[in-house]
């Protein structure tokens, strides 16, 4: 046919085919490159955190152990009695009195005495810290630095350690910990859950099971979707204006005359929990709706068929059928709330508190906020602390996600067995 030649000769076709194939191969390389980049980002993220968390620290003592007891350069070389005597001899009278009244020196453990002496007498100060990578590759430079600084010595520190979880906020990086922040986070998540779970699941049940498909309800759906995409800082502003300021008597506890100290204001755990509750509410609603949607109509039909009411159907048939998916989604939503920083900063988390939260009317700080504060400070040691706190946060999130997966698997396995 005449038009046959419009596609070119056989060699034309071959040339074109080769070109088309080459283009395909090039793009495949590009796609693989993109995937590699994405994975690389994740690795770099984790590695930079790990890098900060371990490394050498150059310390200098204000008072050398050797000046307390001759011949012993390290405090760990002291015997227990030597420690006790050194403490009695060198602690200032005020501190000694306070320490004795909390727990007499004679009854304190070895570790306790060591840390006492370190904190009040020896007082090591951080001169410089290094990350893991530097510590492994630049040992000579590090040693040179230590030699150049009079009286300094090196120690390899893991900034994340059991002490880290138990210590409270402290101005001294060596003794700082996340206990207060961790407790604050947990308290807040509790309030968030108590507020958002019933309301969220309830709203979802209404929208999915009761509501007719009319304009109002479609508007509600759209509204919930929009709320889930609002930047978290806006929720902070909302919480600030409503919970902290307008509802101050409620959230500070003054309404219930539960004032814990004289500077009561609305910047409490209750406000923080309610604010985050508003933030995760749309997420819980959407997730629950999806879970309810997945239950086939036939289940409901068979329940109505034997004369059950709507609520009976929902409570005894539908909810049990999708319960684990609702629970899993809620746990995941809460783990998202756990990592939220901006709304709580806007609400007014305390910048420095040394007292653990005791109830919902307490002032608070949270783990992400602690990370924020430490990250923002230029001194090197705080960077290490931030890294350690991030690892703590990630561990906490991993625990929560595992809990979600475990719940889902355990409950669905139970259902399968019951069949």
């Amino acid at each position: 046919m005449q038009t046959q030649t419009l596609f070119g000769t056989d060699s034309d076709i071959n040339v074109l085919m080769n070109k088309r194939k080459k283009i395909g191969l090039i793009w495949q390389v590009v796609f693989l490159f993109a995937i590699t980049l994405a994975i690389l980002f994740l690795l770099l993220l984790l590695l930079s955190v790990i890098d900060s968390t371990f490394g050498y620290v150059a310390l200098r003592n204000e008072v050398e152990p050797s000046s307390l007891i001759e011949g012993k350069t390290l405090i760990k070389e002291f015997s227990r009695t030597e420690l006790e005597n050194a403490a009695k001899a060198n602690l200032s009278s005020g501190i000694l009195r306070r320490v004795e009244s909390e727990k007499p020196l004679a009854q304190r453990s070895y570790h306790d005495l060591v840390s006492l002496l370190e904190q009040y007498v020896i007082k090591p100060k951080v001169l410089k810290t290094w990350g893991l990578w530097d510590s492994l590759t630049q040992t000579r430079t590090i040693e040179a630095y230590s030699l150049s600084e009079n009286g300094s010595y090196l120690t390899f520190k893991s900034w994340i350690n059991p002490q880290f979880f138990l210590a409270d906020q402290s101005a001294d990086p060596l003794h700082a910990g996340i206990r207060t922040a961790l407790l604050g986070s947990l308290w807040i998540i509790l309030i968030t859950f108590l507020f958002a779970f019933p309301i969220g699941v309830g709203a979802a049940i209404y929208l999915q099971e009761y509501a007719h498909d009319n304009r109002i309800n479609r508007l509600l759906q759209l509204n919930i979707f929009n709320l889930s995409a609002v930047p978290s800082i806006i929720y902070g502003l909302l919480g600030l204006a409503v919970f902290v300021r307008a509802m101050q008597s409620f959230t500070s506890g003054s309404m219930f005359s539960a004032l814990t100290d004289s500077t009561a204001n609305g910047r409490t755990i209750l406000s923080g929990g309610l604010t985050l509750g508003l933030l995760v509410l749309p997420i819980i609603i959407i997730n629950t709706q999806e879970a309810l949607k997945a239950i086939p109509a036939s289940l409901r039909m068979s329940s109505y068929g034997i004369g059950a009411t709507q609520w009976q159907t929902i409570w005894y048939q539908v909810l049990p059928a999708c319960g684990e998916r609702i629970l899993t989604g809620t746990i995941l939503a809460l783990s998202r709330a756990l990592g939220e920083t901006a709304p709580l900063v806007v609400i007014g988390a305390s910048t420095f508190i040394s007292v653990d939260p005791t109830g919902i009317f307490s002032k608070f700080t949270t783990l992400p906020i602690q990370i924020y504060q430490w990250s923002a400070r230029p001194q090197g040691a705080y960077r290490n602390l931030a890294g350690a706190a991030i690892i703590a946060l990630l561990i906490l999130l991993m625990v929560m996600n595992s809990l979600a997966i475990y719940t889902r698997d355990k409950l669905s396995k139970k259902k399968r067995l019951e069949l």
Binding site: I35, Y206, I233, L338
Partner: protein
């Protein structure tokens, strides 16, 4: 006995059913209350802000300096920094996310998809504060090493923008992959049957068919980038500055809000009101993007359902 017999199928008054339904309805209405609350609060406090004699609306939108101390309230430096970080973020996140999505949807084997998808879910679950830390401790030094310490300030919008791009990457990849997978297999088969290669099918048939879903992804990711706070708070800088140079420090809208509210601010000061006015602008921008995204996405579903 002239009592009317109770009809066996008569409607029973089930009061507790009605109570339950009403309670659940109120719960659902709470969501409207939240939206109304947000709008109300933002508008009211903004009104206080704009009614202050030191503030003029026109200047607010167009003036180039934001210095509350001396009564200058021009939003442009803050808006400019927000746009800079967001554009950099999308320039990084969108292409990479799209390519990842194409790979996952069209090229990956089931096994590799089984490894890669959870990886991205992990990335998506990392809190933004960790990204902020990453921006400050890794990205900024990296940029300073590459471009020279003299050219890149310690706080800069480029670093924040790049990391925001990494932040939205998993979100883009997931949503884009959904959109691409939703394109019916039929279309791909038709393309192959005409002698199309795989890449031609992907770019000339599948991607155009998924375009509305991809647009919705883009808008939603952009909205996320604009609303991002902690990364810019840590890495972009404090203090509004109008500059076109992403290697300089500049404060975004969100960074400003978090800095002011994190400090000591009295309730009736103009500073307090200003963060709500800025919040209102932020809300309007992201709300518009989200709404548009949703509209486009529902058009997409209409085509293929």
């Amino acid at each position: 006995m002239h009592e009317r017999p109770i009809h066996p199928f008569g409607k029973r008054k089930r009061i507790h059913e009605r109570i339950i339904e009403t309670t659940l309805f109120l719960f659902a209405m709470l969501s409207i209350l939240i939206t109304v609350g947000i709008a109300f609060i933002l508008i009211r406090e903004s009104y206080l802000f704009f009614s202050d004699p030191a503030v003029r609306l026109l200047d607010f939108l167009t003036a180039k300096k934001w210095q509350p101390m001396i009564g200058l309230f021009g939003i442009r430096p803050l808006l400019n920094a927000t746009l800079t970080t967001s554009i950099i973020a999308m320039a990084v996140g969108m292409p990479i996310g799209l390519f990842v999505a194409i790979y996952l949807s069209e090229y990956a084997t089931d096994r590799s998809r089984g490894i890669l998808k959870p990886t991205f879910e992990v990335l998506a679950g990392i809190p933004t504060i960790v990204y902020g830390y990453f921006a400050l401790t890794f990205m900024t030094p990296l940029l300073r090493t590459i471009f020279g310490k003299a050219n890149v300030e310690i706080y800069n919008t480029a670093s924040a923008g790049l990391v925001i791009g990494i932040l939205v990457l998993p979100m883009i990849a997931t949503m884009a992959e959904d959109a691409i997978s939703a394109v019916p297999k039929d279309l791909r088969l038709a393309s192959y049957a005409l002698g199309g290669t795989k890449i031609e099918t992907t770019f000339k048939v599948v991607i155009p068919a998924a375009l509305s879903g991809l647009s919705a992804t883009f808008l939603l990711a952009l909205s996320r980038a604009i609303g991002e706070t902690m990364i810019v708070a840590l890495a972009a800088g404090a203090g509004p500055k109008l500059t076109a140079n992403p290697f300089e420090a500049a404060e975004t809208i969100t960074g400003y809000i978090v800095r002011i509210s994190g400090g000591d601010v009295s309730y009736n000061s103009i500073d307090y009101n200003s963060i709500f006015a800025l919040g209102l602008i932020l809300f309007i921008i992201t709300f518009t993007l989200n709404l548009t995204s949703r509209k486009i996405s529902s058009l997409f579903h209409q085509e293929y359902d």
